[in-house]
C-alpha cells in the first residue's frame, strides 16, 4: 500500500503553519470559531490515530470510531459516576483504550487487506449496537452533563471556549510530538517497513505481530483521548459518535491529507471539516459535491494534499 513520502522537514513546516493558523483564528475568531477550532483539533487527533496504523503497518481500520466511543463513554462514566477529575479521566481513558487495543490488536493485526477492514467494521458495529441498547450508557439518548477539567485554582476557566480550545491544541501538540518521535524511532521505521514488505521484516528476525499490536494499541489510546476531549467539549455523548461512517470520514481525512505524513492528517481533518461545514450551510445537497470531490482526489491527486505540498516544496527549493 503506497503512502506519502517520508519527509520530516516538510512535516514540521506544515505543522508550524497549521499551528499558527489555529492560534490566530482562535484568538481573533468569534465564540463559534473557537469551538470550531477545538472540534477540528479533536478530529485531527482522531485522524492522526487512524493515520498512525494505516501508514505504520498498513492497517486500515473501518471501526476506529469504537475507540472514540470508548474514550468518550469511559471519560463520561469516570467523571460522573466515580467523580474522577476530567483531566485525569482523559489519561485513564488513554490507558483503557490502549489496553482494549492490545487485547483486540493481538487477535486481528495479522489479518490484512479486506479482512482487516471487515473485522474492524464488524467490531465497530458490534460496539455501536451494544452502546445503543445499553441503559447504563444512556442508550440512544446518550449521556449529558459531562464537565470540563477545572483548573480554577490556577486561575484558568476551562468553560471559556478560548481556553478550552488552547487546551485541546496542547493535547494535539503533545500527541503530534510523541507520534513523530515514534515514527522516527526504530520501532516506527520497522512498522513503516512492514507496510512496504512484511515478509522481509520476518526474514530479518523482526517481531511483526508485536510491533503491529503495539501500534494498534497506541492508536487506540490516542483515539480514546480524542473521544474524551470530544465529550468534554460538547458535554454530551450519544451512540451516533460510534457509527461506522465516522470511521469512514476519518479515513477520508487522512487520504485527503496524504497517508503517513502525520501533519498531513491534521491538514486533511481541517480541510474536510471546514468544507463539510461551510457547504452544509449553503446547500443541503452538499453530499453530492463532497462525493465528487473524493472521486477527484482518488483519480487525480496521488498523495492527497501532501503530494501537492511536496511539489511546491520542490519548486521553492
Amino acid at each position: 500500500m503506497r503512502a506519502a513520502n517520508y519527509n520530516p522537514k516538510l512535516r514540521l513546516q506544515l505543522m508550524i503553519i497549521l499551528l499558527l493558523l489555529a492560534l490566530i483564528s482562535n484568538i481573533f475568531g468569534s465564540y463559534f470559531t473557537r469551538f470550531f477550532i477545538a472540534e477540528i483539533t479533536i478530529l485531527s487527533i482522531f485522524a492522526m490515530s487512524l493515520d498512525f496504523i494505516a501508514s505504520r503497518g498498513g492497517m486500515i481500520s473501518l471501526g476506529h470510531a469504537m475507540f472514540l466511543g470508548i474514550g468518550a463513554y469511559a471519560s463520561a462514566i469516570l467523571t460522573i459516576n466515580y467523580g474522577i477529575s476530567p483531566f485525569s479521566s482523559t489519561l485513564y481513558t488513554f490507558l483503557v483504550g490502549a489496553i482494549i487495543g492490545i487485547i483486540i490488536g493481538y487477535f486481528i493485526v495479522l489479518l490484512d487487506g479486506i479482512f482487516f477492514i471487515m473485522v474492524t467494521l464488524a467490531l465497530g458495529e458490534m460496539f455501536n449496537a451494544w452502546v445503543f441498547t445499553s441503559d447504563y450508557l444512556g442508550g440512544s439518548d446518550g449521556i449529558s452533563g459531562i464537565l470540563r477539567p477545572n483548573f480554577l485554582i490556577l486561575g484558568i476557566d476551562m468553560n471559556n471556549p478560548l481556553i478550552f480550545s488552547f487546551y485541546t491544541i496542547l493535547w494535539l501538540l503533545g500527541i503530534y510530538f510523541i507520534l513523530t518521535k515514534i515514527t522516527d524511532s526504530p520501532l516506527g521505521r520497522n512498522l513503516d517497513a512492514i507496510r512496504q514488505n512484511k515478509d522481509r521484516i520476518s526474514a530479518i528476525g523482526g517481531y511483526t505481530k508485536a510491533y503491529k499490536t503495539i501500534a494498534f494499541a497506541l492508536s487506540a489510546g490516542v483515539a480514546s483521548i480524542a473521544g474524551s476531549l470530544y465529550v468534554q467539549l460538547n458535554g454530551f455523548i450519544s451512540p451516533e459518535l460510534t457509527h461506522w461512517t465516522v470511521s469512514g470520514e476519518g479515513l477520508i481525512m487522512i487520504i485527503v491529507g496524504g497517508i503517513g505524513s502525520i501533519s498531513g492528517a491534521i491538514l486533511g481533518a481541517t480541510v474536510v471539516h471546514i468544507i463539510q461545514h461551510e457547504l452544509s450551510n449553503i446547500i443541503n445537497w452538499w453530499m453530492l459535491v463532497i462525493g465528487f470531490g473524493f472521486i477527484f482526489i482518488v483519480l487525480f491527486m496521488k498523495d492527497g494534499l501532501w503530494g501537492l505540498l511536496e511539489q511546491i516544496q520542490k519548486r521553492l527549493r
Binding site: 489479518l111 471487515m118 445503543f132 469512514g248 445537497w285
Partner: protein, 282 residues
C-alpha cells in the same frame, strides 16, 4: 410457528444472497471493495418504483429495474472502477465512499425524501396456507427468485464455457489472458451483472421492505459480512454465508432479542480469526 420462522429466515437469506453474489463476483474478479454496492441496491429499488408508478405493472418493474441498474453499473465501471482496479484498498474505500455520498443525495434529489412502497402484484398479494398457517405468497416468490438466480448462476459458472472463462479470470487473470480470454470484456459484463443483481434484490424486496432514503446503509454491512464470511470470490461462499447470516439474524431477533444485534458481528469476527480467508477460500 417454527416453519414460519424458517420461511422468514429463508426469505431474508435469499435477499442477502442476491446482494452478496454480485459483490462476491466483483471482488473475486477485480479485488474491489465496492462499499457502494448498497447504493446500487437502493437505485434499483427506486428505478423499480418509478417504473411501477409509471406503468402500474410490477412485472415490468421487476424486469427493467435490474437491467437499468446493470447499465448504471456498466457506466460506473468504464468511468471509475476500471482505473482503480488494483489500486490499494485505501483508494477503493475513498472512491466507493464518494459514490455512497453521491448515491444518497442524487436519490434524495430525484425521488424526494418520502418513504414509498410498491404493492405486490395482485397475483401474489394474498397469502397461501402453508401447513394451515397463512404465509404471504409474495415472500415465497422472493424465495423462489433467490433459488432461481442461485441455480442459474451455479449452472452458468460451473458448467458452461463462459462460466469457465469467468472462473479462470477470477483465479488467475494473467494466465487467462494468455489463453486469449478477453478478461477486460469479462470484467465489464460481470461488473454490470453484479450491479444488475443488486438492482434485482432492490426491486424484489421493495414490496416487503419499502423504498426509502438510507435503505442502502442498512443492508450494506450485512452484505459485506456475508461476502467476507463466505470467502470473497466464491459462489458457494455467498450461498452458505447468506444462509448462515439469514438464519442467525431471523432466529436471533425472536429468541434472543437482546443479543441479536451482536451475534452476527461476533459470528463474523470469530470466523475470520479461525479461517482468515473466509469459509470457502477461492
Amino acid at each position: 410457528m417454527i416453519l414460519i420462522q424458517i420461511l422468514n429466515a429463508l426469505q431474508f437469506s435469499m435477499t442477502l444472497f442476491l446482494l452478496a453474489v454480485g459483490l462476491t463476483i466483483i471482488f473475486g474478479l477485480m479485488k474491489i471493495v465496492n462499499l457502494a454496492h448498497g447504493s446500487l441496491y437502493m437505485v434499483g429499488a427506486y428505478i423499480g418504483l418509478s417504473i411501477f408508478n409509471y406503468t402500474e405493472s410490477f412485472w415490468l418493474a421487476l424486469i427493467f429495474a435490474p437491467v437499468l441498474t446493470a447499465l448504471i453499473g456498466a457506466i460506473l465501471y468504464s468511468l471509475l472502477f476500471k482505473h482503480i482496479q488494483n489500486a490499494d484498498p485505501m483508494k477503493q474505500v475513498l472512491l466507493t465512499f464518494g459514490l455512497i455520498y453521491i448515491g444518497l443525495d442524487s436519490v434524495r434529489l430525484l425521488w424526494g425524501t418520502m418513504s414509498h412502497s410498491i404493492s405486490a402484484p395482485n397475483l401474489l398479494s394474498n397469502s397461501l396456507l402453508v401447513l394451515n398457517e397463512p404465509y404471504p405468497s409474495y415472500r415465497l416468490f422472493v424465495i423462489l427468485v433467490g433459488f432461481v438466480v442461485m441455480f442459474t448462476l451455479y449452472f452458468v459458472l460451473e458448467k458452461t464455457k463462459i462460466g469457465a472463462k469467468v472462473r479462470a479470470s477470477v483465479d488467475d487473470p494473467e494466465t487467462a489472458q494468455l489463453l486469449q480470454i478477453n478478461t477486460d470484456k469479462i470484467l465489464f459484463y460481470t461488473f454490470a451483472l453484479g450491479c444488475g443483481l443488486a438492482g434485482l434484490a432492490g426491486i424484489t424486496v421493495a414490496p416487503i421492505l419499502g423504498v426509502e432514503p438510507g435503505m442502502d446503509m442498512e443492508v450494506l454491512v450485512l452484505t459485506l459480512i456475508v461476502v467476507v464470511l463466505g470467502g470473497p470470490g466464491s459462489l458457494k461462499g455467498a450461498i452458505i454465508g447468506s444462509l448462515l447470516i439469514g438464519f442467525v439474524d431471523s432466529f436471533g431477533k425472536v429468541y434472543i432479542p437482546q443479543l441479536a444485534q451482536i451475534i452476527i458481528y461476533a459470528v463474523m469476527a470469530l470466523t475470520l480469526l479461525f479461517k482468515p480467508d473466509g469459509l470457502y477460500k477461492r
